[in-house]
Symmetry: D2
Subunit: 386 residues, 4 copies
């Protein structure tokens, strides 16, 4: 039986729930995991919020604020799933206290913060990881395997969108995700962060970018209550939206490929449309998060007249992570990606190695985010510098 590790989580909203699934299910799906997490403590802005989450999500104890939990002597891993503006402070404090750190994306508010975080983990030698969970969709992992096997050859094109529509109603209120001081950016940091990381993972480094940022609805009702997640209620006074509703950019990759990226919260009918296509000299690959159990592949080397897009239902036991779940054809959901992440994290801690995507990947992503912002301001191509 594997050793155990005590986890402390900061943040109890949507992401807190999703991360909890990861800790809870990892040993159920993957009995070979090298370290079994114990859901020791959950912290939130208020003790009421923390206590309520504790009961529903299944943590042992609850606490208020983040300052105490990062010092708790019986905790070895801190999971950061607060608003973006707190990532750096919590992660640095946790690392300085000798805790391993698992942090939500985007890594921080800017490149400078990321570098501070990296300094802290390097100096203390703790294990670190960023929650770019879409790398751990079995279909995406299969894409990666196939690419490494040469399935697409030399990459020419990356074409990715992340389309959502949850704030299209002009009466939807000013939640924290729409305020620059709390979120850093809007669709850009929230959604482009994911597809930039996937591009890094599947195609390679981005050399330079040219983008535009757009806010369609410039004023919204202030929030009625003190907190508010995705289903928040509006109040009566109006406030300024200070982040982008949509950010689009072109990219040149270091290896010669070219790409398009688009993140928006104004694409009606696209609830969670994280989609990409890669075209290479030998083949092409397509993915759509709303059908995350499927991967499409076109092999240019197939016999003439027999070529076509093959839809692989990525649920066979031989597919990445699927041995842990159900027989072929019994699909998994979005939440399963968190279990896969935690599986990698646990094994990483056991092996004393920060598994990808780690803080270096988080920094690289942030550098692209920042270059796009600069390009949107200057109207010019901007070189990405890490």
């Amino acid at each position: 039986m594997a050793d155990k590790i005590n986890v402390g989580m900061v943040g109890a909203a949507f992401m807190g729930k999703a991360h909890s699934v990861g800790y809870r299910d990892v040993a159920f799906a993957f009995p070979d995991v090298k370290l079994v997490p114990v859901m020791k403590e959950i912290a939130a802005a208020t003790i009421e919020e923390a206590e309520s989450a504790r009961q529903v999500l299944g943590w042992e104890r609850a606490s208020e604020g983040w300052e105490k939990i990062v010092q708790a002597p019986d905790i070895q891993l801190i999971d950061v799933c607060t608003g973006n503006n707190l990532h750096k402070d919590i992660a640095v404090a946790a690392a300085r206290a000798g805790k391993h750190v698992f942090c939500e994306k985007p890594m921080a508010m800017n490149v400078a913060e990321c570098k501070e975080m990296i300094k802290a983990v390097e100096e203390t030698g703790v294990v670190h990881m960023i929650n770019f969970n879409y790398r751990r969709v079995p279909a995406v992992e299969l894409a990666k395997q196939m690419i490494e096997e040469g399935a697409i050859g030399t990459p020419y094109h990356w074409r990715a969108v992340y389309l959502q529509d949850w704030i299209m109603d002009p009466k939807f209120p000013l939640v924290w995700r729409l305020k620059k001081e709390l979120a850093g950016s809007g669709a850009h940091g929230d959604l482009n962060a994911h597809i930039i990381d996937l591009a890094h993972y599947l195609v390679g480094d981005i050399d330079s970018v040219c983008g535009l940022m757009k806010t369609f609805i410039k004023q919204r009702p202030e929030l009625a209550a003190t907190t508010g997640g995705l289903g928040a209620k509006a109040g009566e006074t109006m406030g300024e939206v200070t982040v982008d509703d949509a950010t689009l950019f072109l990219a040149k990759f270091a290896n010669g490929a070219v790409g398009t990226f688009e993140a928006t919260r104004f694409a009606g009918g696209n609830r969670n449309g994280n989609r990409f296509e890669i075209n290479g000299s030998e083949g092409s690959i397509r993915f759509n998060l709303e059908r995350l159990n499927e991967l499409e592949y076109f092999d240019r080397r197939d016999k003439e007249g027999r070529q076509g897009w093959k839809t692989i239902l990525v649920t066979d036991p031989v597919h990445p992570y699927m041995k842990g779940w159900w027989p072929a054809g019994h699909i998994i959901g979005w939440q399963h990606t968190f279990v896969h992440q935690i599986y990698n994290l646990m094994n990483g801690i056991a092996d004393k190695k920060s598994p990808a995507p780690n803080f270096y990947d988080g920094l690289k992503c942030q550098a692209v985010l920042e270059a796009v912002e600069k390009s949107a301001e200057t109207g010019q191509w901007v070189k990405v510098e890490v």
Copy 2:
């Protein structure tokens, strides 16, 4: 330059228009055709109808009734696209007059009529063909090629539906297709005829059947005017629907495969849903007429973890018939199947050989249709006898 052949067509409605496309376009798409049709004469029930069709469809002359055209000395091929109740008389008269015969499906009202027709063509030695045009969809022809190459191995399952919805409105009137004395049967002869022929073509002979026939709307308004096609107008008195709205049956094939067939005009949302799937020991094939440029194929011999349904866009120059049309990716439509049929017919006449699907195929289809009708009456499995 190829020799010419004069064509006379009987029938000027929907099918007359479609057949006309075949004659008009064959040499345009296929300059290698061995015989070039001349659209000499079109006949219809009234001279007005014939004349109007002549102008729009591009025939040289018009005539009334079918008796004269089948004797016209300058005509070598008679195309029969009247109501089903006239097929036999016209085809037999044409054959007896030494004309080649191209006949719409279903071949006739019953097996006995089919046999009379076969007797006539056998005795006179004319070329004969039945318009099961769906054999000549490039994707279906590709399926046939692949099956012959072993792509599916031993067939286990045939699963076909032909779903339409054009008479669901209870106020839709009693057109000829809803009267047994004119049509023979309803969805059964109209739609099952097609998928039975495809099953014969792609899987093999049917040994026995068990079916049911259903009429959902038993009375309908009589037609206001004398004639009426698919867009007919209703009058005020009500009349009896004497054909099936839907016919479903199970089948056992001679080679051990089993199948389901379903034809209906009451499947809302399915405008023209001719769809089939075949599963064999090595692979599976799927087709849908509403996306007739595509063929889906699953190869069980693909590497583990890389298996999936491949959607082949059947528009490459190497695909059946496609060299005659456009560059890859420029799709063709339903009407093109008629051009392909006529291409085969012209070459067959030039070679003095009745190309499949010919009257023997028509008879075989009729025998299955009739066995299903008998099964529906007796509530028992019925062996198909040709």
Copy 3:
């Protein structure tokens, strides 16, 4: 905080794992559940198997055989997920011991066994339920809601298949599911049972049926080891396959609709293809388990020229069960249906009412299964008698 109920589960294979997810996750997803299950004891054929499952699946204690657990004084609910041949004995014993019973489908080996089970639960007044979990797919529940709102009008057609392909390899061994004495039937009881229940749920009672049963591979290697699930290994001697590989049937519903059903384990490329389409006077509905987050709907009352199949991504908070999970567009998997079932079961026990699908639904399904078997033997239509 809700009261708790102690659960004892018999069976520790594939279904044991799936049921465990239901008990484990119900209060996490649905904090309003009226009774919270405690995973008290798991029993299996051997203590080793039970102990191993206990650890991985998270039960408190393990035991051997089913006779003791059904008498355990601290257990109030018995979950039966053994082979079909044991369902009746366990369920009757559990009911006689005053335990509520949750039983896998098909309910039993035949109608007579079902009636014994019903007698037991009626006499003891315990709550009972059958695991037709596909009723609890949110998209299926939405279909039910829409049908009740009149979305399809009078039903005309039911068209369902349940296609799998996991035993196509002739070397796949003789697992218990291929032996009549253990499984009762093959694809029929395993797969048709599901789509018969869905037809009952969505269309109505079946009046009479006509079917065929087919075994494509008649001999297979005996199992190397004593037990074997879906991934079993083959031995060297050959044994007789005594169940159907595929069962197809036509049905007449009491309300005048007609239907086709097909269950097979020989449909290559269909890993878990539970699919149905219903056509009614006002609209049509389509579902595919391999894309279980989607429901397709066609409304014949839509404006002319604006009609089409609408693909509803059934992940909005207003959709059935989805409030318990994630924001819109974050899909769920197959396992979630078990959580929904357990949610209903817990509330049913709290309310002292057996929630549908219960033993009466199980019996009704079994009656259809049996009528089809009789029809396949006699070659005639058979009336369904409960």
Copy 4:
């Protein structure tokens, strides 16, 4: 019976064949057309080429070069489907000779040439039209109708790609389309031209653009023979590719919407992937040329929980242009768009009015093409100036 008009066509390759279908079929499909074209004369670079095309495509006479046909006294309409470098000279000469002009896209080599052409048609008063045939896909026309009815509200996003893959093989030779002096540009003028025109048609004017142009394969074999179309053969010496293989750009529309455009000939598996999606405040629309009979629509105003993407099969008689063809569900092909164009052209000439898309639309498109080229050179956003 409508009056006739004599047509002279310059160019006898792929586009010549497609245009010929338009003239040949227009009165067959649309008997109400106001002017019936007579296919009088076809001209090509050599008389052999012209004569061969004459026979196959069905023109009355053949001639060499373009200078004579534009002066032919019995011709009233000149159809220009040569290489792009000749468009201007032919169109101007034809207009100066008093002929109406129908010209392939892109309109010319640059904005200056377009302006010369406009000067000529304005001074002579002839009717002019550009062959942006994708406006006349019934599904696209339906999209236009729906947008005008308010189906999408205020447009936010335009997202279009035109993906092909026919020159991915590095051994594919240097055909005229890969030489700047003959084609002007590569994928940009060939493919972006189409989606720019669609954006103008469906969203509105483009204010400014930022783009990149990429040539993946910089050297290719020179053509073996003097001419070569899509299926050309390679010779032995190598030559420089002087056009783009792919051009991508971002756009800001005058009305506040933002857009992405991508044209490439290096997207393996995409034979002819002209696809777009528009998101507006009330709804969204999607189109894919490879499934040109379908239009997808999402209505944000649909009832909560009943929202979804509706796939409209655009083959009903009430759909644009479809009354001319077949019953619902009998799909049309790519070639039909040419018939629709010629229908509009004929009616335009009869009404003495240049139907859209005419030379002004061609110029507007060219201005965007040119602005993108400038942006690709300077690395900056460029304002579009007409």
